[in-house]
């Protein structure tokens, strides 16, 4: 279903300069058509600025953008009707009902058909489970309901792609799950989904592709398997006589060991034979309590790439 050669979004050396600061510092995004693409990065890394440029809300300082094969901003108006988006949180007229808000935004769309407006609005409300609250004024909505209404707005028309900026922000665990299920069902329909988040768990559960952005740069990009395979496999060994064990492992050609409390951790090849090592250890009368290979989680990779700190990077 995913064709790596056909791109829904492609940017080349995309730069956005604000004064002396580069919010986006020359990124090359490649989002395959039909993928669920996670755009991961800490707050302030330039994700939203990138999304603004993709949607023509802001002009790029330099570089090229193509969305669904159309150059942006040259063919922006033809492209936007094919793209539903949630940018930097939902925004509505608080003194109007949820339904009237959707009607308002659909009326603004110069390509939308007024004859089908009502049915499309109802269908979108239904899809996000807001039908019962659609007559309430938006100022009475909870953050979660606004977020759903924002998604309904993105679904007002049949779309080829959805660009969702932090779609589960402010939702409770229940709402988060529902949004995730909604995204999955949309992905099954073949819609390309580009979802940004600062939460890795979010992306890990949803996406098949991923780009990690930090301080305006993309530091990793590709399918999840691809990124996983780039991580270093580790051997974890718990036994008695740790010092002797180190000597044995070194004799086996395993260097760069690190001793941690009661265990040894060492980077090894992915196809390392654990059983054979175990046999040798047992033969040498070691009391092995645990021996296994470990693949670092994506989270570890993410932290390695973006830094642990709580500090804002810039």
């Amino acid at each position: 279903m995913i064709d790596e050669n056909q791109l829904a979004i492609s940017t080349k050396s995309l730069v956005k300069q604000f004064g002396s600061q580069q919010a986006v510092a020359g990124i090359d995004l490649s989002v395959p058509l039909g993928s669920v693409f996670g755009f991961l990065g800490p707050n302030g890394s330039g994700k939203t600025t990138t999304i603004r440029m993709l949607l023509g809300l802001a002009d790029a300082s330099s570089g090229e953008i193509e969305v669904l094969g159309n150059p942006i901003p040259a063919k922006l108006q033809q492209t936007l009707p094919l793209v539903g988006a949630l940018v930097e949180g939902p925004a509505f007229y608080p003194y109007m009902s949820g339904r009237d808000n959707l009607i308002r935004i659909d009326s603004a769309d110069k390509f939308s058909d007024p004859k089908t407006r009502k049915t499309r609005v109802e269908a979108a409300l239904e899809r996000v489970g807001l039908t019962n609250a659609s007559k309430k004024k938006v100022h009475a909505y909870s953050l979660g309901m606004k977020q759903r209404l924002g998604l309904a707005n993105a679904l007002l028309k049949p779309r080829k792609m959805l660009i969702l900026d932090e779609p589960t922000n402010g939702l409770d665990p229940q709402g988060t799950r529902e949004v995730r299920n909604l995204i999955r069902s949309l992905a099954k329909e073949g819609i390309t989904i580009f979802v940004s988040s600062h939460l890795l768990s979010e992306i890990e559960q949803l996406c098949d592709h991923l780009a990690v952005m930090t301080a305006g740069k993309i530091v990793a990009q590709g399918s999840i398997e691809e990124l996983r395979s780039k991580t270093q496999t580790r051997l974890v060994l718990k036994t008695d006589r740790l010092d002797d064990a180190v000597t044995l492992l070194k004799a086996e050609g395993i260097s760069k060991l690190s001793l941690k409390a009661d265990q040894i951790i060492a980077p090894v090849e992915t196809d390392f034979n654990v059983a054979k090592l175990n046999q040798k250890l047992v033969k040498a009368k070691f009391m092995v309590t645990e021996i296994r290979l470990e693949q670092p989680s994506l989270e570890e990779l993410f932290v390695n790439l973006t830094g642990e700190g709580f500090e804002v990077v810039r």
Partner: protein, 276 residues
């Protein structure tokens, strides 16, 4: 297709947004209050008022209730009417930006020029609503409190009741026309900021500056270029035969302001990064 190109659907939606707001109705109610207060005050003190005392037309209100609307328009013109109109004009783009709805309108996609045009026309509709509110509220309260009959014009001629209603409409249209320049200025200022109150205040300040300059004889050369210059000339519509000269001059001047500030708003808004 034609309706689509004109953005009729969007125009309807714009008016709906404007007129579901309580603020819009509150402002129109406040506008209606001007002739009502005026008429009540005059009715309570009518025996103490010598002809020619107070603002122009004021003494006429007691003789003919239909003058209430004209007098109220005169009172509302320097400050109150520009204030309400500036609120609506300053809110156009900045209001949508501060709500965040601007980004969703733009990615709908609405088209930036189309949005700007519809926003401007929306403010013109509000200006018409405000000036007609003045006239209609004035006519109603005037009819209740004072005798109503054929109107004696400034030229001394007497016109019939039907004719005077037509003149009232004409004055309302003239006054709304007088507001189109400041509306264009407000629209432009509104594209510069995401703080609607700032745009509103700046627009009101400019109206004040224009009126002050119009009263300084030292800068007489610029008087005829000031957008407030012809505001009070609606009195020409209350002569017989009707004098349309100032109507034309005013329209031309306002059109100039619309062209200049419309172009500024366009060039600013179509190149602006929407970061709100």
């Amino acid at each position: 297709m034609f309706a689509k190109a004109l953005g009729l659907s969007l125009m309807r939606s714009e008016l709906r947004v404007m007129f579901t707001r309580r603020r819009t109705w509150a402002m129109l109610a406040a506008v209606a209050l001007i002739p009502i207060l005026l008429a009540v005050a005059v009715a309570l003190t009518s025996d103490q008022l010598a002809p020619g005392e107070g603002p122009p037309f004021l003494d006429r209100v007691t003789q003919n209730g239909l003058f209430t609307g004209f007098t109220a328009t005169l009172l509302a013109l320097p400050l109150f009417l520009p204030l309400t109109v500036a609120v609506v004009a300053g809110d156009t783009i900045a209001g949508e930006a501060s709500l965040g709805t601007l980004r969703y309108l733009l990615i709908a996609p609405v088209g930036r020029l189309r949005l700007l045009v519809v926003k401007y026309l929306g403010t013109v509709v509000f200006a018409l609503a405000a000036t007609f509110t003045l006239m209609i509220a004035g006519a109603i309260i005037g009819t209740i409190l004072f005798p109503v009959g054929p109107v004696t014009l400034l030229s001394g001629d007497v016109i019939s009741l039907g004719e005077s209603i037509w003149r009232m409409a004409l004055v309302a249209i003239y006054t709304a026309l007088s507001m189109t320049g400041i509306l264009a200025i407000g629209l432009f200022i509104s594209t510069l900021t995401t703080v609607p109150v700032g745009a509103m205040a700046a627009t009101v300040v400019l109206t004040g500056v224009s009126q002050i300059l119009d009263n300084l004889p030292q800068v007489e050369w610029m008087h005829e270029w000031l957008f407030t210059h012809y505001w009070l000339n609606f009195a020409d519509l209350l002569r017989q035969p009707i004098e349309l000269g100032s109507f034309g001059q005013n329209a031309l001047l306002q059109l100039g302001y619309i062209a200049v500030f419309g172009a500024l708003a366009y060039s600013r808004f179509t190149t602006k990064d929407i970061l709100s």
